[in-house]
Amino acid sequence: MSEASNFEQLLRSALVPVDPPAEMTDRLERTLTELTDAAAGELADWELSAMRDPRNWGRTVAAAGVVAGAGAALALVRARQQHQKRNVQGLRALEDSVRGVLSDVEKRLGR
């Protein structure tokens, strides 16, 4: 093996992929789920009144698009949560992002 490829092998051994801690994974998935539920709730409340007015139909679909992003993690999250109930740790900077997404939803709903 050449010196260069030896060194690259050494680099590969040093920079091995690192598994995320299970606690973080649970926390992230829980946050995404909560976000999805909140976004879906916003949409459902708004839809009940707005869908009666045809002028709002386009906005309803746009809002559904926002919720679609939020719902994306649901499929994997639901199954995990059934057997992984742990205490929620502080969400630190996550809270800002959550608020940001909810704000997106509200803007798309025209509130």
Partner: protein
């Protein structure tokens, strides 16, 4: 006029696609974040922030990617967040990494001590490289990305990326040799 049932079907597809993206790349994003910032605590924050950002902009990113892999886009989000992290807190990456699990593979005692030392020196050398070189090496060796993917993540041409990686390896090799001579 848009049809709500059609929108619901599109939503279901988008949901499934994001789930795939998350499952496939969670480890990549965590690894990238970890080697960028050098500790698990901040790597967790960066990873969480990255996926929340990704989830906000996923629909558009998917549309604009025209079927190309989205890993470079995810890495780019993590890169921008990491840059803000350093700017806001005036920090540099830690040269002494938390235990990454890298150094715990079974060896004889002598091998283990020598191997740990060598790998630790490599990691410290990587952490001391200029940011673009450090990132390129992380993507190549920790995430096993090819030149094309790295180029997309870094907003460079493939040729420039190849040169960047070559120079990064050379610089690291030289600095480790200098350290050896200095001991």
């Amino acid at each position: 006029m848009a049809n709500p049932p059609a929108a619901a079907a599109a939503k279901a597809t988008l949901d499934a696609d994001f789930t795939d993206l998350y499952r496939t790349h969670l480890r990549d994003i965590y690894s990238y974040s970890y080697y960028r910032v050098g500790n698990h605590h901040d790597a967790e924050d960066l990873t969480e922030q990255t996926f929340l950002q990704a989830y906000r902009h996923f629909e558009r990113a998917q549309r604009e990617s025209r079927g190309r892999p989205l890993r470079p886009w995810l890495i780019r989000i993590a890169h921008n967040l990491a840059a803000n992290y350093y700017r806001d807190r005036s920090r540099r990456p830690q040269t002494s990494l938390d235990d990454a699990g890298v150094l715990s593979e079974p060896h004889t005692t002598a091998d283990l001590v020598e191997g740990r030392q060598e790998l630790q020196e490599v990691l410290e050398g990587v952490a001391n490289l200029p940011e673009d070189r450090r990132e390129a090496l992380i993507m190549r060796f920790a995430l096993d990305m090819d030149n094309r993917e790295i180029a997309r993540a870094m907003g460079r041409t493939e040729g420039a990326t190849k040169v960047l990686i070559h120079r990064a390896i050379k610089q690291l090799e030289e600095s480790l040799k200098d350290d050896e001579r200095g001991e």
